[in-house]
């Protein structure tokens, strides 16, 4: 492979040597040959334009051949620019040193035309091949990056808002293990009262799986424009059968997709789902109890052309949540080959604070931390649905600390909460009640159990009709609803000192819930805002 356009630089302090080399190279057909008299000139020339080959003398004034090689080695250019070292026949040690510094090969003076030709051609050929490989890799990487961008663009953004007058939030996550992957996640509305959720996992990863994923995604979306789309998704087993038929036809590679398709009728909360070989989704009720939505639906998509799918249904209640994941989460490995497991995913789900926005990122980060730098096990896709989470949230303020707040810190925290509630137009009375409840609960938590040295998370949300609060701490079990009722009608002498705080909490909250989950106390309370309480006492 002789490329006459190759650019060659001759570096030698002896003009006769340069002339001789120039003549030989010209005779070999090269037309772009430059010259430099020493190392300094050589580095300047190399910096000014890109060469395909440098013929480099060793002994030179100003900067010798070693100096040039060292400079090129320092900034890594030696890997892309082949150097042929010119040496006298009797100096083998310096040549060895040059090769160690990264020179590609050497030729000896006086120059033998045949050897010179062979070395120059083979060095240029190697350079051309490695350039080709590098360019090809670069191009592939660019293409893959573009494919990744396009694939991620298939995922609709998370949703939080009202559909058919009911509050709904959907968080989605897609993280291919390589540039592109075979997991698919989607959600969309059909009509104005139905939401469709879809999540799948192609039986492989990489580019082939990505094409299969895109096909599955596109075909599902194609169903949404059919005139019978509402009927089709109300009975998602029908939509799934169509999808399966199309993916099975002529599927010689036998690539398949485990899939979960669900439709939620907003007005009634009725969720119909079909599992095509996919792992059962997690269901979490408002009180924090976790269940799996089992019930086989049918085989993965793409395997059995005439497969029949079975739907299952549950009714979602306000505050219910649904989490669907692919095995990239559950089967991620740590360096000791332990798997992340469904238990950890379930624990994450149970411990979620309803007010946390887009928590799936946190789950993915936890999986990555678990893998501790190992390459991702598989693509990850997840979908989290919260059905009427906590009313329409106007704003939320969060505190997270490694220890329960001290009495001084409680006062400071309450100042911030009151300012936050004021900013969101919450009336002074509801703000005062919120401050009282927070103060009482936090004081009780700090004195309950041996120490306050335990993590606590506090979130306060302002909603149109109420203020809600969540307090999570990892202390000993503590249910604020179970504290004994103090007797309020006894005389002063008999009146016990204490027991009033939690009594106040129970009186002030319009709703008070408690659950013990994963070794944590999870308490949710609500305080009605002015105008929504019928029992306000006059004075």
């Amino acid at each position: 492979m002789n490329n006459p356009n190759a650019k060659i630089l001759i570096v030698d302090d002896v003009p006769e040597n340069r002339d001789l080399l120039l003549r030989r190279l010209t005779r070999l057909g090269f037309v772009h040959v430059d010259q430099a008299e020493n190392g300094v000139q050589a580095l300047a020339a190399i910096a000014a334009q890109s060469y395909d080959l440098v013929l480099l003398d060793i002994m030179m004034p100003e900067l010798d051949g070693f100096g040039v090689l060292e400079a090129l080695r320092r900034d890594g250019r030696i890997n892309e620019l082949p150097i042929l070292v010119i040496s006298a026949l009797n100096e083998i040690e310096p040549v060895v040193r040059c090769i160690e510094l990264g020179a590609a090969d050497f030729i000896v003076k006086p120059f033998n035309p045949t050897l010179l030709r062979a070395r120059v051609f083979s060095t240029l050929e190697k350079k051309a091949l490695s350039d080709l490989t590098r360019d090809e890799l670069r191009r592939k990487q660019l293409e893959l990056n573009e494919a990744r961008t396009l694939q991620l663009a298939l995922v609709p953004p998370p949703f939080a808002g009202t559909i058919a007058d009911r509050m709904l939030s959907i968080d989605v996550l897609l993280e291919p293990a390589k540039e592109v992957g075979g997991d698919v996640v989607d959600h969309f509305c059909i009509g104005d009262d139905m939401v469709v959720l879809a999540l799948g996992d192609v039986s492989d990863k990489g580019a082939g799986a990505a094409l299969m994923m895109a096909r599955t995604h596109a075909m599902l979306r194609a169903l949404t424009v059919r005139p019978d789309a509402a009927d089709l998704f109300r009975a998602p087993e029908r939509a799934l059968a169509i999808l399966n038929g199309a993916l099975s036809a002529g599927n010689e590679s036998c690539m398949f997709v485990t899939y979960l398709l669900a439709s939620l009728e907003i007005a009634t909360g009725k969720l119909v789902y079909v599992r095509a070989g996919h792992v059962p989704p997690f269901h979490c009720s408002r009180t924090g109890s976790i269940a799996r939505l089992g019930g086989m639906g049918g085989p993965p998509l793409g395997l059995v052309e005439n497969a029949v799918y079975q739907p299952h249904a549950i009714e979602l209640a306000p505050g219910d949540r649904l989490l669907i994941v692919t095995d990239g989460f559950t089967e991620a490995h740590d360096p000791d080959n332990a798997i992340y497991g469904e238990g950890r995913v379930g624990a994450f789900f149970a411990g979620l604070m309803p007010s946390e926005e887009q928590p799936l990122e946190r789950l993915a980060a936890d999986v990555r931390a678990f893998e501790a730098g190992r390459p991702p096990f598989d693509d990850m896709a997840a979908l989290l649905l919260s059905f009427e989470p906590a009313g329409t949230m106007l704003g939320a303020i969060r505190f997270e600390a490694s220890t329960l707040p001290t009495p001084e810190a409680i006062a400071a925290l309450i100042d911030r909460v009151i300012a936050f509630l004021d900013q969101h137009g919450v009336d002074a009375r509801a703000a005062h009640h919120t401050a009282l409840v927070l103060s009482e609960v936090l004081t009780n938590l700090a004195t309950h159990g041996d120490c306050c040295d335990r993590p606590a998370k506090i979130a306060i949300s302002a909603e149109p009709d109420k203020v809600t609060g969540e307090i999570i701490d990892s202390g000993p079990p503590f249910d604020p609803r179970l504290a004994p009722e103090p007797s309020l009608d006894v005389g002063i002498a008999e009146r016990p000192i204490g027991g009033l705080g939690l009594f106040l909490v129970r009186k002030l909250c319009s709703n008070l819930e408690y659950a013990r989950r994963n070794g944590e106390n999870c308490m949710i309370f609500a305080i009605s805002r002015e105008g929504n309480r019928g029992d306000k006492k006059g004075h």
């Binding site: 004081t443 002063i492 009146r495």
Partner: protein
């Protein structure tokens, strides 16, 4: 005579009007301030038949810890055969007293002057 502001921002001032100790409190009577409040005000009760009036005009936040402090003081005054009253209670604090039954248990006057003349009698 006590006249101090502790680190939690609770201000306590007391004066003697006739035979009545009038304590003016300002700030929050919460978990951080109440124990010190009970101790400082309790130290005023040294004689037989003490008369103690606590003016809550400047107190906008009373938690159960504050209620406990009040209860401790009331018991101490009663044990010494004295009388105890609150005055100028802010509406939101009044609500807490209502809910916890303190309103029925304590003498609460709308204003300081009215309270002092009632206690003198």
């Amino acid at each position: 005579m006590i006249d101090c502001e502790d680190k939690d921002g609770m201000e306590i001032r007391d004066e003697r009007i006739g035979d009545t100790f009038v304590v003016t409190a300002k700030g929050r009577l919460d978990g951080g301030a109440s124990a010190a409040f009970a101790e400082k005000v309790g130290a005023l009760i040294t004689s037989e038949n003490p008369k103690l009036l606590i003016d809550l005009a400047g107190v906008d936040f009373v938690t159960s810890a504050g209620l406990r402090a009040v209860l401790v003081l009331v018991k101490k005054v009663k044990a010494a055969g004295g009388s105890f009253a609150l005055c100028s209670v802010q509406e939101q604090v009044r609500e807490v007293l209502d809910i916890t039954g303190f309103t029925d248990m304590l003498r609460i006057h709308a204003a300081r002057a009215e309270a002092i003349s009632a206690m003198r009698g």
